[in-house]
Subunit: 378 residues, 2 copies
């Protein structure tokens, strides 16, 4: 038999070679995407690319689904040198103190922190990542960098992991960076509490060890306009504000014209070796340092990785986290000599501020306030 | 019978009054949210608020679901004075030319453009909006502003509307602004083509009447870093780039250090009175004006609302749309005298550029290029 070019399986088109009608599978992938099943869509398109690796529609389909599942801040975070170098320093210090400790990295992302632990001498690192396409990519990064002997990537949320199914034994060092601009938004409180109970040794080193949330009052029409409309072009558009956010969004304070109306004040202080995700509420009595319109409470965190090594996202420092901005729907006027009473609450994941309506400005706060709540941060 | 305070239905708690266990309904609302059914979650929480209007958990639950369904650019768009004033001028001109024309506003948002049409003298305006919570809010804005005699809000995508079920007759004026930074991303081509076929009179005025996409080559490490990692902190993180976007994202060019490497060039030119959403592909031969690394193709649109009234998002103008940035995964070096051949394609909703691999720099492009593709815009 003569083998012709046409009969060479590799030379035939993928549909002819496999008998698969790829158009129908492309439609299926797009349908999964439109249903919001992005990780399923990623898998469908990856299989199509396995059949036909140059299929441009599958390449774009996979990429569009990936972008819905994977936030774009990953790249800015990886380029945040201050964050990376502080974690690297803290990881080296913790691993040097106990190189035999099993390391658990929660929220692996690219695998960077897990590889830092392996490079520092950790013999075994388990890095878990809840987003399947990110976990799969982290495994590729680790393999290409030659750290796959020491680092294992587990494609799972840590809160679904158990010993010994996913982790050979309880870990002696936890490294995690699942924090957003408002510290709690990615669920660090509940995640670490779960890890302490199920995944860590009783004396495990927990990185970060502590975190606190710091807030400051600001006047800023520019921030106010990001969440509020009033009378514009001859129409009162205010009813549209029922769609405004009642909680914080991230933005860079220094990119918006503003005046600070108070010193920074510590709102919540967490010891991650003991904290849990139970909701907390506290009263804050803040003394305005200038008169103005209180458009927003700007807040950020200071996170102690190990004692003496602190990372954070205060205004002015160019952290990839930016700051957390909570606009007030009805901005009050404030002035020195008339303390502002703020009600600060978190539900385990989100911090929210309210100007206490029942306490007129100038009156003493109705609640006793802990000392830490007055602490001036800078 | 003595009526006591306790037996007053209004004074009893909502659970006691209605017999409903609200905690279970709150869990249901959160469950809908976690399933990604945000508009359903909004409805669930609104009903809970109907039973107990001060329920803080329902208020926050509703707001979190709203924020997933309603993008935050609405507020910046409403404050974009240039956009609003150009639309107002064009709408006044179109309505003055034919005050009896039925006006169709597609993508009503807050209802602003529909109210502008009514204020300009249009007797009947139908404003459709595909997001239910936005449509409901637009109806409130219109009612509060006193334009509900002239303006009717329909909570529907225009592509699901028909005459006479949703629109009393074919409309003589279409006003729409469903464009993103890359012009086509919200489906304007298919939406207007559908409207021409099903919802508009044959001689209807279509606003915008034309739109074109303009692109420019830039060198910018800062933009490149938003979509690319290489060797960082001693590790090669490049495999992470399989999660990078292959298409454009929005950002403000002037906020990133950059050098332009070419004049702006028109890529696609659409006449919305005839255009449809069929994919198109074109070759562009661009002459670099400076030597550098081609990190990104930056593009924007110029949209003619009516002849002589143009709105757009070129770099430098502070439009809320920002610009469309498409980073190139492997940025080539370019220099004057060696034309860059770009392959530009759209699939009806997304424009994408590729450096044509089969055409070495310095060689003539393999395809004939239409005159408009060389046109210099500024």
């Amino acid at each position: 038999m003569t083998r012709t070019h046409d009969s060479d399986p590799a030379a035939r088109g993928p549909q002819e070679r496999t008998g698969l009608e790829l158009g129908a599978f492309l439609d299926w992938g797009r349908d999964l995407h439109h249903q919001g099943r992005y990780e399923d869509a990623v898998k469908a398109f990856e299989l199509i690319l396995g059949v036909d690796d140059g299929n441009e529609e599958a390449l774009i389909g996979r990429n569009r689904a990936v972008r819905r599942a994977v936030p774009r801040w990953h790249w800015e975070m990886l380029h945040d040198e201050e964050r990376a170098e502080l974690y690297d320093r803290a990881i080296r210090q913790a691993v040097a103190a106990d190189p035999d400790a099993l390391v658990l990295d929660i929220g692996a992302g690219s695998g960077l922190l897990a590889m830092m632990a392996a490079r520092a001498g950790a013999r075994q690192v388990v890095a878990c990542e809840g987003q399947p396409s990110v976990a799969e990519t982290a495994a590729r990064v680790v393999r290409a960098a030659g750290y796959d002997d020491a680092v294992t990537v587990v494609s799972k949320m840590s809160t679904r992991m158990s010993v010994p199914a996913d982790l050979p034994r309880r870990a002696g060092l936890l490294v995690t960076e699942i924090v957003d601009c408002g510290l709690l938004g990615e669920g660090i409180l509940g995640t670490i509490a779960h890890a302490r109970e199920h995944l860590l040794t009783p004396d495990a080193t927990i990185m970060p060890s502590r975190g606190r949330i710091v807030a400051q009052l600001v006047e800023s029409e520019a921030l106010h306009r990001k969440n509020h409309v009033g009378k514009l072009y001859g129409f009162d558009l205010a009813p549209f504000n029922r769609l405004s956010t009642l909680e914080y969004f991230d933005s860079r304070l220094h990119r918006h014209e503003h005046r600070v109306l108070s010193e920074p004040v510590t709102v919540f202080d967490f010891d991650f070796r003991t904290a849990d995700a139970r909701p907390r509420r506290t009263g804050l009595r803040i003394h305005p340092t200038a008169a103005g319109t209180l458009h927003a409470v700007v807040f950020w965190f200071e996170m102690e990785l190990l004692p003496g090594i602190t990372v954070g996202n205060p205004p002015g420092r160019d952290s990839h986290w930016k700051q957390a901005i909570q606009c007030l729907p009805a901005p009050p006027r404030v002035q020195p000599g008339e303390p502002v009473v703020l009600d600060a609450a978190h539900d385990g994941e989100c911090v929210r501020f309210d100007v206490a309506a029942d306490t007129p400005a100038g009156e003493p706060a109705g609640r006793p306030l802990a000392h830490a709540e007055f602490e001036v941060v800078s």
